[in-house]
Symmetry: C2
Subunit: 195 residues, 2 copies
């Protein structure tokens, strides 16, 4: 008979730990999330967290995934050509941030990256290798790397301002208005003159 | 005779503590900076940190100042009218980030804000009340609040991407190129059509 309040190490244990870790990294930040607090929320022994995921840093790397698949999103953003990609990207990002699960994952990533050098390297690699490299391939321009990095700067800043800092009126702005405000910026970084 | 390695509580003690705190908040983030570690770097007893500044949260609020005076900078940015303000603001920010002391203060603020709800509120208030409100006053438009918040999102994102995450090639881009790339974005948020 399993102990009261603890779940046995069955097939649902790993996803339960991953879900609790994702939620706590987003809500508490990296430093205040512990293997013990994750174990408590998942209703398992702390030793099981270590067994499945290793250290806290390894837990972060394991559970933090992009909340969308760049291999699908990036081609869709460029489906109508580079000149329309700014608007498509702005709409995709604004709508993605409306989804609580997506928002939690992104804010967890940004929070951890701001407080923890290893998490900063992880976020940088995720963004550069999984998203920006795909954007660069679609753009096929000599300064595509810089264009992708500038897009990244505005999108990380949007997550910070709209969600983490909750600067008004941006925090409560309707999705379509956010998208309309960002579209010319993203289009400029994609295809406008940079110098 | 003062104890070896400790400085007496003289006139230089408070600035020495403030300098150590500013450096550690920037380099280590809020959570890994402690009253004890600040005291050690300043060469004083930890009790003196508490005596001069109170809690760690109060220490953060005391030492974190904007690295420039918005009452001087904002009018200078608008000196040639709103149509030239985007370029002036982009150049000011790009050059400010070249200064190691400015960069340390800004990254300390952004790092603390990302990991700590009280620091997020502090940064939001600093940015909204001291900087954006001045920009709003200069713009004198019905949607000036939103324009100021959008500018804030791009500037916080620039600090994250160029300094905290160090995304290349943005991290090592020459100052003038950063300013040229950002100017049209900031000008759009200042005076362009948002919807």
């Amino acid at each position: 008979v399993p102990r009261s309040g603890r779940r046995p190490a069955g097939s649902g244990t790993r996803p339960a730990i991953a879900g609790a870790a994702r939620r706590q990294f987003a809500a508490l930040g990296y430093d205040r999330t512990s293997l013990r607090s994750v174990a408590a929320e998942a209703g398992v022994d702390a030793a099981l967290v270590t067994y499945f995921f290793g250290t806290k840093q390894e837990l972060l790397v394991s559970v933090v995934e992009l909340p969308f698949d760049p291999d699908q999103v990036v081609p869709a953003v460029f489906a109508d050509g580079p000149a329309a990609a700014g608007g498509h990207l702005a709409r995709f990002v604004a709508h993605a941030l409306d989804d609580a699960a997506v928002r939690d994952r992104l804010t967890g990533l940004v929070r951890a990256a701001a407080s923890e050098p290893e998490a900063a390297a992880l976020l940088r690699d995720l963004v550069q290798d999984r998203i920006l490299a795909r954007v660069v391939a679609e753009l096929d321009a000599p300064d595509a790397d810089l264009r992708a990095a500038l897009i990244g700067s505005q999108l990380v800043g949007l997550v910070m301002a709209r969600v983490v800092l909750a600067v008004e009126p941006l925090a409560s702005l309707p999705t379509a208005t956010v998208a309309a405000a960002l579209a010319p910026t993203l289009q400029h970084y994609l295809t406008g003159p940079l110098a």
